[in-house]
Amino acid sequence: MSKVETTRIPEKKLIQDFTVIQNIRLNARHFILELQSPDQLPGLFPGQFVQVLVEHSPSTFLRRPFSIHEVNKENRSIRLLIQIKGHGTETLSHIHILDKLNLIYPLGNFFTTGDCKKVLLAGGGCGVAPLLFLAQELNKKGIRPIILTGWKTKADIFEAEKYQQYGELLITTEDGSEGEKGLVTQHSIFRKEKLDFERIYCCGPDPMMKAIGKISKTHGIDCEVSLENTMACGFGVCLCCVTPTIHGNQRVCTEGPVFNTNEL
């Protein structure tokens, strides 16, 4: 099967005021924003991200990038899953329903889908953000993925039911309070003699992505990771977000955020 999606012509990038229609607190450090567009949404693909203008935060000068977590076409809304890291995300966590949020989107490339049947989605902590959207899109193509997520402890886990809807959910916790004990990369699934996935999609902390990349290579499995380099623009002009690839320095915001580990 050919890589249909990657040849799609990217949609026009937009600067748009969205309306906050939900602000759901998941736990002390995570929340979901649901944002509604005044217009029809353009074509959006899993792995793509938005650049959010954070007003009212004196120490936030640049926009903040977030992956698209879910899309609701009928409602013209998207969801972002956000971890509170610093002042920017802290300020966003206090945003009120009906407040406006200015977005530049859709940005970046996206995960390859439609050419593989047996796939694994692996995410650590907030790295799960783009994987829900990905699982949903895979479902639409008749693929039910295995979704492996890693957490510190049981109390940190969120949206488990959602993931279970779209795939088989595996869990690791660092303290063993739920699922297998250990890191994502230590899950028993990787201890099989021969991993039979056609592709692994991965998103999370750098060391995790590196480890999963290595495992994939050993087993000859295609592997796509989503990087989170710091960004100034998000649409390809500042050249601040580059990552070294076999093709030289490439922009994570434009040639990425999704890279095949063969290219890194």
């Binding site: 990038k13 000068f61 640049l62 710091t230 960004m231 050249l239 601040c240 070294p244």
Partner: protein, 303 residues
């Protein structure tokens, strides 16, 4: 209302340009605005051959600003001439090429090649990049060397020669006069200020290069001061920049003595900001009953 301005022999339809390194080659902005509305567009630095730039991380956010240490990443002048120029040459705005280098010869070589391109009416000689080990800023902080590279490029470049000055100097006017004397048609300022960011928790510099160039509103007061000082001591037009985020900022630079402005970092936050500033200048002129934008240049009232 007349918004046009002259920079040497170059006529801009309005005084709003984009700053080098913040607007790519213009193409990246086609989704956001009509580039043909811009007074001009200074494209990303071009050097004689391919440069990978500095390693990641290249960016640090700072109070009301950012540091970058991109380091002139570009595919070289040959690639620019062959691949990029044909794609952008008909964008219908004044396209200015930012010419950079590590040696005097490199500046001359690039300028010579750009001189051949019909639809490039001007270059901006970047003797002020703080992010390259050799050359760059070193050329722009010594009046003698700044004059030398200007004179050498002047010999091979027949169109409008803008020289971009570094703010990392004791006396901006001394450099400005030296460069004017060596044949510059216009001066643009300021490039970024050399700065540094540290992550207190990891106890490491944020940038791979330790230091980088500071841009954004944080530097506006310094930029305004330098534009004011410079425009009073040279006869060639001055293009002002440094932290322009909106119409008011742009007007301040004109009042301080700039004939045109370049908008840099603001494009990252609001990619349509330049066209909004052009409209904003028009309404400012209406409100203040000013017919030609040139009247605003240096109109600052000092009692």
């Amino acid at each position: 209302m007349d918004l046009s301005v002259n920079i040497g022999n170059l006529r801009l339809k309005n005084p709003v340009m984009t700053a080098s390194g913040t607007f790519g080659y213009g193409e990246e902005y086609l989704d956001f605005l009509d580039v043909s509305q811009l007074g001009g567009m200074v494209v990303k630095a071009v050097t004689s051959s391919n440069r990978d730039g500095n390693p990641y991380p290249r960016m640090a956010e700072t109070p009301s600003g950012m540091l970058n240490s991109v380091g002139l990443q570009n595919k070289g002048v040959h690639h620019f001439v062959q691949e990029i120029y044909p794609r952008i040459k008909d964008l219908n705005t004044a396209i200015v090429v930012n010419v950079s280098g590590s040696t005097l010869e490199e500046y001359v070589e690039v300028a010579e090649k750009i001189n051949e391109l019909n639809n490039i009416p001007a270059i901006e000689l970047n003797i002020s990049c703080p992010n390259v080990k050799h050359g760059g800023m070193a050329f722009g902080t010594n009046p003698r060397i700044a004059a030398e590279v200007t004179a050498s490029v002047r010999k091979v470049f027949r169109k409008t020669l803008i020289v971009k000055l570094s703010p990392n100097v004791t006396s901006i006017t001394e450099i400005a006069k030296a460069v004017e004397g060596a044949g510059a048609d216009a001066l643009s300022l300021i490039n970024t200020l050399l700065g540094m960011a540290i992550d207190a928790e990891s106890q490491k510099p944020v940038l791979s290069t330790v230091t980088g160039g500071l841009s954004g509103p944080a530097i506006k007061p310094i930029a305004l001061r330098m534009v004011w000082q410079t425009s009073q001591c040279v006869h060639v037009p001055v293009i002002g920049m440094g932290g322009i985020m909106n119409t008011t900022d742009a007007i301040e630079f004109l009042l301080a003595g700039a004939s045109a402005v370049e908008v840099g970092t603001a494009n990252f936050i609001n990619p349509a900001v330049t066209t909004q500033i052009i409209k904003g200048i028009e309404s400012y002129m209406q409100r203040h009953k000013v017919n030609t934008v040139k009247e605003l240049t240096g109109a600052l009232k000092i009692k």
